[in-house]
Assembly symmetry: D3
Homo-oligomer: 319 residues x 6
Amino acid sequence: MRSSQMKFIENFKEGDRINDIYLCKHRQAAVTKNGKPYENVILQDKTGTIDSKIWEPNSGGIEEFEAMDYVEVVGDVSNFQGALQLSIKRVRRAQEGEYNPQDYLPVSEKDVDEMYSELCQILGTVQNPYLEQLLAMYFENNEAFEKAFKFHSAAKAVHHGFVGGLLEHTLGVVKLCDFYCRQYPDLNRDLLLTAAAFHDIGKMKELSVFPENDYTDDGQLLGHIYMGTELVRASIRRIPNFPKRLSAELCHCILAHHGELEYGSPKKPALIEAVALTMADNTDAKLESFREVIKSAGDNNGWLGFNRIFDSNVRKTSR
Amino acid sequence: MRSSQMKFIENFKEGDRINDIYLCKHRQAAVTKNGKPYENVILQDKTGTIDSKIWEPNSGGIEEFEAMDYVEVVGDVSNFQGALQLSIKRVRRAQEGEYNPQDYLPVSEKDVDEMYSELCQILGTVQNPYLEQLLAMYFENNEAFEKAFKFHSAAKAVHHGFVGGLLEHTLGVVKLCDFYCRQYPDLNRDLLLTAAAFHDIGKMKELSVFPENDYTDDGQLLGHIYMGTELVRASIRRIPNFPKRLSAELCHCILAHHGELEYGSPKKPALIEAVALTMADNTDAKLESFREVIKSAGDNNGWLGFNRIFDSNVRKTSR
Amino acid sequence: MRSSQMKFIENFKEGDRINDIYLCKHRQAAVTKNGKPYENVILQDKTGTIDSKIWEPNSGGIEEFEAMDYVEVVGDVSNFQGALQLSIKRVRRAQEGEYNPQDYLPVSEKDVDEMYSELCQILGTVQNPYLEQLLAMYFENNEAFEKAFKFHSAAKAVHHGFVGGLLEHTLGVVKLCDFYCRQYPDLNRDLLLTAAAFHDIGKMKELSVFPENDYTDDGQLLGHIYMGTELVRASIRRIPNFPKRLSAELCHCILAHHGELEYGSPKKPALIEAVALTMADNTDAKLESFREVIKSAGDNNGWLGFNRIFDSNVRKTSR
Amino acid sequence: MRSSQMKFIENFKEGDRINDIYLCKHRQAAVTKNGKPYENVILQDKTGTIDSKIWEPNSGGIEEFEAMDYVEVVGDVSNFQGALQLSIKRVRRAQEGEYNPQDYLPVSEKDVDEMYSELCQILGTVQNPYLEQLLAMYFENNEAFEKAFKFHSAAKAVHHGFVGGLLEHTLGVVKLCDFYCRQYPDLNRDLLLTAAAFHDIGKMKELSVFPENDYTDDGQLLGHIYMGTELVRASIRRIPNFPKRLSAELCHCILAHHGELEYGSPKKPALIEAVALTMADNTDAKLESFREVIKSAGDNNGWLGFNRIFDSNVRKTSR
Amino acid sequence: MRSSQMKFIENFKEGDRINDIYLCKHRQAAVTKNGKPYENVILQDKTGTIDSKIWEPNSGGIEEFEAMDYVEVVGDVSNFQGALQLSIKRVRRAQEGEYNPQDYLPVSEKDVDEMYSELCQILGTVQNPYLEQLLAMYFENNEAFEKAFKFHSAAKAVHHGFVGGLLEHTLGVVKLCDFYCRQYPDLNRDLLLTAAAFHDIGKMKELSVFPENDYTDDGQLLGHIYMGTELVRASIRRIPNFPKRLSAELCHCILAHHGELEYGSPKKPALIEAVALTMADNTDAKLESFREVIKSAGDNNGWLGFNRIFDSNVRKTSR
Amino acid sequence: MRSSQMKFIENFKEGDRINDIYLCKHRQAAVTKNGKPYENVILQDKTGTIDSKIWEPNSGGIEEFEAMDYVEVVGDVSNFQGALQLSIKRVRRAQEGEYNPQDYLPVSEKDVDEMYSELCQILGTVQNPYLEQLLAMYFENNEAFEKAFKFHSAAKAVHHGFVGGLLEHTLGVVKLCDFYCRQYPDLNRDLLLTAAAFHDIGKMKELSVFPENDYTDDGQLLGHIYMGTELVRASIRRIPNFPKRLSAELCHCILAHHGELEYGSPKKPALIEAVALTMADNTDAKLESFREVIKSAGDNNGWLGFNRIFDSNVRKTSR
């Protein structure tokens, strides 16, 4: 495990000689205009990716490997048309233990364990005995769930697309809902917090785990909204005497949380908690998305160009 | 059971004295401009409904009854502002056995038993052993299901909103899909027919049974698309070794059968069978809707005015 | 001033004889089918309105009055087609001093003074010296503004359409924004809180004061988004050295706070604070709107019918 | 005519030397970065197209030719950036008779003559004497029409964009309509089948014939919906006593067959047959489009990426 | 012919006794709450319509008549719920010659003959010999066309729905186009003026003549855009050597003149003249619609309420 | 100042040696595949732009310069992939006085001074004393304004994006409005002409001056619609007794002149003059846009491909 002295991709500079382990995200054979075979490779660590070339794929130093392998590479960094490029001289597949997978995955900037504790603490205040039991099935002494939940992302691309992203987003939504309950006393706090806790639980089935983090077949065909609701309904059935009306209300909140049919919810919010959950989900998603825009802008204080999510040219605010 | 000699509402004429049993759909107390109390009542049989008034609610002949009761009424038919109206003189609640419920509900014009046989026969040609088992759980020797399925409507209002409507619509869609399979050999017939059989099964949970035939609480909050898919997924789990990919494909077809997100499907059709099912569902719905427009027009061959479903003025075609 | 013993409209019952002062919202002469003249009147107090009739407009007890007058009436409550109706026997215009205008206007259920204090306290935490000066021009020792701001509504109909509504909504939005700043540190708190404080300030020009509370000519032609922004820009010009970039950022937030061009903002949010303000405004508006739906439902726990704002049938949640 | 031994483009492999006749779809002069002139050429046969280069355009072996010429080429196949490329060494214009045009055009996979027979047979069952005469003007003993109709495509790109495509699509729609008539007896079969037969007849004027198969000037300015309707109306005028109402109904079906104004129909379907034709046209178009997606996927059973027509990621179904 | 001394409906006042001839637009039998038969009648003249009642339909003075008859009525004007109503005491069908149809139809406020002269004069400046011939077929010495064109309306309801309306609108559009040609020299004046002259010619087939002025069967099924284009294309075919490209350009302008597919044009404007015609048509339609709003407002200078065409509350401008 | 003998970019031909002054629009360092540094440069004059390369950036003849500098270059024109390219051999920054800026900016084809005179003359006919004063503040003896107004463009890209463009567009709109007033007497001419004169005045703040001609920070955040209205409102405040209602009407016209909320107007047109201004603005914009399409097509009389503004394939009309 070498992360302490590891050279991260965001620190590469033209002229560097690299000798370290990276995750191979992509590999494809190609041919130059002159008919000479070469290979396109994309390497990744938690700080970014770099386009790489193997110009002599048949040379002795180039061992077998494929996408999703961790590989030790030796190579040189150059600048091609304004972007850095790595010319790989030698490469070999690394063994488990030689690397720390956390170094190769985009991760939350926040502490995952602290976030999980905070989430459990808030959910621990739910009073309704049926909802309490339901939450306990997941968030109390369920190590397998805890481990998986902490590791999952909330998206393939867009916002919260990193390790811990599902947790970070869930916590953000739960906290907003918790605040709403203080400000709008008509809200049923137990119902709203429980719905917030589970609203994106279906993402654990929609997206495969890192490093792949891509849509599963079920994800493509059924989606996280359907699968999350079904999962919760199945858990509810295992709780004796869970009130039917409460069950429908909770599942409605999950089903309707995208707010509009055209965003993939098969029902529009019909309860005040469903409306509140939609607001919290949208607020956390939009503000995190803008945070990522700001972060990727670095120290550029000017206009950043048209942004598809915000349907507008955007820029950072003066401080 | 008096249906043979019963006087149906569609045959009422101004000046008739009525003395028969009808279903009370609605009852509400009211007051005339002069402060005199009276009651608004709507009576129904399978041929239609009639606005009725009880002008002397406190007279001896007016016994207790409420909405959804079958009541024997004595009254006179008059014409008020162009529509017939029944002035109720006497009314009493009828006992089970005095009437035949079938006389009071809108019913399919087709023979329900024949339609069910035809449906089972077509579904009996499905070859895939897993899909065959799944279909058998519902359509083979399941009397409770058969009875309920035959009795259900496919809608509160719009198309197929009558006893046997769910069966008639399901059969119509299955037959269209069966024909598609002959014309487009890329279609997986077993998958498509099974999806067609179950595509609206969730309506049995979304709508309460006749005579109420209204949205249930679950129907309002979760909808038939979600509930039907969940029901089929639960049944699949009881079939050993049901292939995961096939399960996802089948459930995707059900989930996506409204064709567009804005029509309440949380996923767009992503498989050719899902596309085909959308086409069949839409074709049967639209042509049945137009049939109902034509039927309700009687012998009016002129333009019938703007129709909301077809977003156009419509008329019958010359013959 | 008789509010202590006043009989409020929400307490009227069939058979009551009424003798009290109400606000006349509407008055119109009419003729019965038989050609007899009568008058339609709508009376209002802070608990609601009641349809009223003057059947003998030329009798001695009916004195001159018109819409927006406070009138003392004597009359009897009856039930017409399911709704209460007041038959006015005598009526005279009341004098200022005989009534308390606050009894006749829909008012916030919260204490207006407390809300104003809370608002000022939060705004008092703004640090940026230019924004601090701008806020002080309105929210510090400006009695005329304070009085007008406390009395204004935030809407003609829909949400917060009552005395104190503009204050209640502004406070709700400011508090949400304040919470956002704790959860999303990228937000510029000073900018966001200031924008929240002023976001609907243009409503003071768009809507006339109570009891009229209707669109002004300027409101119809220019709208509160334009007028509010212009007002703030004019105030900014009176603050020496106010940074041009900060001015544009603040005014952009106000201009863009409806979030979408089709909702009347001439610019889409292009800064993270503008996005946040949109979220807070929408959240407070939607949750208050649903609260009003719930309140008007009384103890009806069933489905309440299609609601235009939520584009769905809605109901209260189980408790 | 050498199709038996011809080497089709879909069979080209890296390293092949080619010596055969192909259709030149495109030719354009260019210059390398170093200022050396060369030529970009696209060659086509019925199995596909290949990017080609003439690196020595002024050499002796390169004779004169232009787009839409059939040319005999000698060249070598290489792989450039993952795609095959032909380096042309010699080229000469081929003479009519040296090649079979059918080898160079995308063609229906079905037998064109059999399809035409089947179409005529179904249309031969139309009973209405006026519609029968109208159909006969085109589909009975009209060799010029038959030849042209069999050769035409139904599209420039998208579905049925091949020789015989118009026929294949028309037959598909006619057969669906024929089936509808069995299932929905309200449909006027004679009217519907006739409308189906002519619904895309305007494509013969909208698109030029192969090998060009591109929009004509009239096609761009007037479109096939207008031109097809006008053509049928003109033919109707030559049939004595053709009923005016029937004429309007038939032409309405053609005019409205895209179903929605935004898809280019100037009228929404207002008759049940117009609705049915829209359904049949859409069903055949969508299922053929998906068939073409499946075919082009070869043996790829995974997700194929976002498809613009279906507005979704798509994949083949398990078998 | 009594128009000089005729009492126009816009001058009716409560208490008037009427004895004059009016056009019967509508007649329908009805029954009062008490079962007494009566009749609803709508009478019309060029100044408006009035709801009328025949309370004693079986009395001697009530002779036979039906909708679209001119009838002499004797009756009394009263005020019912704020609107005037005529109680008909006696009625008889009037004979041709007793009345002047022009008195009973809404008519242009401008002189029809002058407008026609002005139109012909402008069209007389078209130079292109083919377009000149085409225009001459309609606008030169064609009395039947001239009479019909002058009498036609341009709409059933909305703008220009009066005698002379088609002429007034056509002239308005032609004059705008003429001005455009002076300001934008890229425009082909001959083409644009000819297209303007014919752009709504299909309305003569879409709407029946006054007093009916309602959609014809062809109008409902095919629409004026299709029929107008077809008419012009048919006329073009009778002009030897009319250039094919010019024909397509002219007909494209007519076909595309609604500007958007969703407004019923099957093609979007693809030529600058088609764009210009769309602008002129829209400008004349919108400004005439607003003129009619202003006129119907009388001397009301306040806000007139939400207007569906302008999708806004509207009012008159200060002078 | 060398414009007379200057070689304009539109006249460059392959093989030319260039030695002249051009405006540098863009400069960026790059590296070839082989690691050799070079520079991408875009040069501009009023007739167009040309891609240029400095292959030897470190050679002696390459002096310092940056974007927006005027530079004297020596270089050779070649053809790269169908487009001309300039290989720069020597370059030096030019001094003010060596060049005429007008030669380097896209300019109106019309005479700017004549257009300004014509505009002032029409505006001089406004009678209303308040509007007259308002116009005079800008269009009478205001040299600074005149100079800036004449030099400004009306757009960054799309229509009228050249020196004098704002003037040319304003004049076009004013003249259309002037003509409307003759044809539609309901229009208040003084109000409409004044609104037309100022409708795009906010563009002077939204776009920076040439040669940059790009959105300003205020332009991005507030937009020309808001800023133009605010500017006019501020000027109005300096005119004693300017009627409040007239002020609101004028500013409404400016605010609403994009016609639809989704085009950035915060209010829909609610007055007939606002509707007229929308029509004039749209007409001038569309016809000028099409003129620019036609001009850039040169002598290509065929179809020009899909045009985003017109949402259609377009072509020139036959003459």
